[in-house]
Amino acid sequence: MKIKINISSDILIKPIIAESILETGVLLNISQAHFDRSRGEVVADVADDKFDLMCKSLTNKGARVSKLDTPIKWDENECVECGACISVCPTKVFSLDADFSLLVDEAKCIQCGTCVDMCPHKALSLGNNNK
């Protein structure tokens, strides 16, 4: 499952993700990370049955953890099938088929929200957490 880990500025420099991995022995596959002076945000995959364990460990160290269980939402009524989303998606969720219809493979979505900003027709949205 995809999770988002929010790290506030006061604990930004502590290696809490590494500590939690070592402490729990649970693997995290990080697919995205953003850090600046004010905050850190990491999107990662974790096994479903290990979520509670990892969540507890990270939360104890001051991080905020949320599940990203709703992939990108595609509003076909607003979509004009231009394909603007295709080139900005890091995981190739979007493609055009032979007759130039847009195909959306939601399973690949890491909910980064880049396509939400790109879409000229507000046809893409993220239900939870992001954007």
Partner: protein
């Protein structure tokens, strides 16, 4: 030699014997039969395009109120329209933004809402005259309630358009969409093989008066579009059509993050095949339309071109930039362009749409001029402070504090032994270090990612960089990264204060 007349073709449309194909189908027909036989075979080729066309808008006549008003300012759903004409006429432009909602809602949305039959709030103010005494007016109107609602787009249907990419280290938001850092993607616009003007690049049949498909209704080309630049293959069209007859499938409001609103306009132009030259012209393919990939990371009128590219390569999903496969995105919808070309073909088949010869042809071989600027363009070198005090990275925090006190500079660029810029410290950084009882070297407390400018940059560009990075001063550096000046938000404010 094939020679047909518009009259003959319209006769065939009337009696149902006309042969119409789309510009995509024409490629194969000319490929198989050759231009001469294709010209005998085919009477009309239909084109289509559906993309963002910012230079679009609508003239509205609201009817007169009681007591009457000469509108001086008018707002539709809080989006300002231009009413510097007669009493109750106004032009709403696609990119005008809402006073209250900003970039989320604009003129384009008002236009789409009108076509969808929604009610629009009209607010108008006036100074009041003897003939038009009313000063304020508020009412709600739908498309049906108004007299004329005429779409009048000064620049649509670019023959082709530059593709866009971004050389800088951060994502930029443009009217070409989000452009990812370090040439992370390429975006493009235009229908290539289906593009109206690319199928008649010598404007043999397209011109003033040509009847077209506009927004799902019949409309007309009124002449060359603004910035028509036929010499370089960037012709444009000015078009008009009746909004009351249009269809929201073909007119859609758009929002470009960080840029604003625009209107997606669906347009199709029929090209009568009068001779084999026309047959040959309409056989153009995506591979036959070449444009350039421009670096939108350079905020200049003259954006550098990285390379030439065909629509075929753009549409393949990837283009090669310096040996890397860079993913592409179209901003215009090829699927919709196809639907428009097919719809127009159907109209002609059904005898509902007749082709026309232009009353006047579009000008050839002209180019659009850049703006003549009578006020000098201020450069960083004109206003930067040249007496700069730097500090060595291995100086102490105490030294830095003392330098700031002695010189009254708030920002100290930090330099290496060879005088190259490696960081910056501010009075605030020093206060912070002191408050944490940190008295180590400047190197330990400086900001390493320094936002810089060069002397030959334009002040307007640098002002935006200051703003975007929320800093108040930038070192000005040369090619060797030596600090040759400082530019501050104060310098820039003074420049603009002096001008106004």
């Amino acid at each position: 030699m094939v020679k047909k007349t518009i009259h003959e073709i319209n006769g065939r449309i009337r009696d149902g014997s006309v042969n119409v194909v789309t510009a995509e189908e024409m490629v194969h027909i000319v490929g198989e039969l050759g231009a001469e036989d294709a010209a005998k075979e085919v009477d009309v080729v239909t084109t289509g395009t559906f993309g963002a066309m910012c230079s679009s808008g609508v003239w509205l006549n609201f009817g007169h109120s009681e007591p009457p008003i000469k509108m001086q300012k008018v707002f539709l759903n809080d989006v300002e329209a231009y009413t510097g004409v007669a009493a109750v006429d106004a032009f709403i432009g696609a990119t005008q933004l809402s006073e209250s909602l900003g970039m989320d809602y604009g003129g384009a949305h008002v236009i789409e809402d009108l076509i969808r039959g929604k009610s629009i709030h009209l607010h108008a103010v006036s100074h009041g005259t003897d003939c038009y005494p009313r000063k304020v007016l508020d009412t709600n109107l739908t498309l049906e309630d108004m007299n004329q609602v005429i779409m009048m787009n000064p620049r649509n249907a670019y023959q082709k358009y530059n593709a866009a990419t971004n050389s800088t280290k951060s994502t930029i938001h443009t009217y070409m969409g989000s452009l990812l850092p370090s040439f992370g993607n390429v975006t493009y616009s235009g229908a290539g093989v289906l593009s109206p003007l690319s199928n008649d690049p010598d404007y043999m049949t397209i011109g003033t008066g040509t009847r077209i498909f506009l927004g799902g209704a019949q409309g007309y080309i009124t002449g060359q579009g603004t910035q028509h630049s036929s010499g370089g293959g960037f012709g444009t069209l000015m078009v008009q059509g009746d909004l009351k007859k249009m269809n929201p499938d073909y007119i859609r409001a758009a929002n470009f993050t960080g840029y604003g609103t625009s209107l997606y306009v669906g347009m199709g132009v029929p090209i009568p095949i009068l001779n084999e030259q026309m047959a040959q012209a309409t056989a153009v393919t995506d591979a036959g339309v070449t444009t350039k990939i421009l670096d939108y990371g350079i905020p200049s009128r003259d954006r550098p071109s990285l390379r030439d590219v065909t629509y075929e390569e753009l549409r393949s999903g990837y283009v090669d930039i310096d040996g890397r496969d860079v993913p592409t995105s179209s901003l215009s919808s090829f699927k919709k362009s196809r639907i428009i070309a097919s719809e127009l073909k159907e109209w002609i088949f059904r005898g509902e749409f007749f082709v026309s010869l232009p009353a006047e042809r579009l000008p050839k071989d002209i180019s659009a001029k850049p703006m003549k600027q009578t006020e000098g363009i201020a450069l960083v070198s004109d206003i930067m402070a040249v007496s700069v005090v730097t500090i060595a990275k291995n100086a102490s925090v105490y030294d830095a504090a003392k330098t700031i006190m002695d010189t009254a500079f708030n920002h100290l660029p930090v330099v290496n032994d060879d005088n190259t810029l490696v960081g910056i410290v501010t009075a605030w950084d020093i206060s912070k270090a002191v408050s944490q009882n940190k008295f180590d070297l400047v190197e330990g407390i400086m900001t390493r990612k320094v936002i810089t400018a060069t002397a030959d940059e334009r002040v307007a560009v640098v002002a935006r960089r200051l703003d975007q990075n929320s800093v108040s001063a930038m070192p000005v550096i040369n090619k060797e990264r030596h600090v040759i000046g400082m530019i501050t938000s104060d310098d820039i404010s003074k420049l603009f204060a002096r001008r106004s």
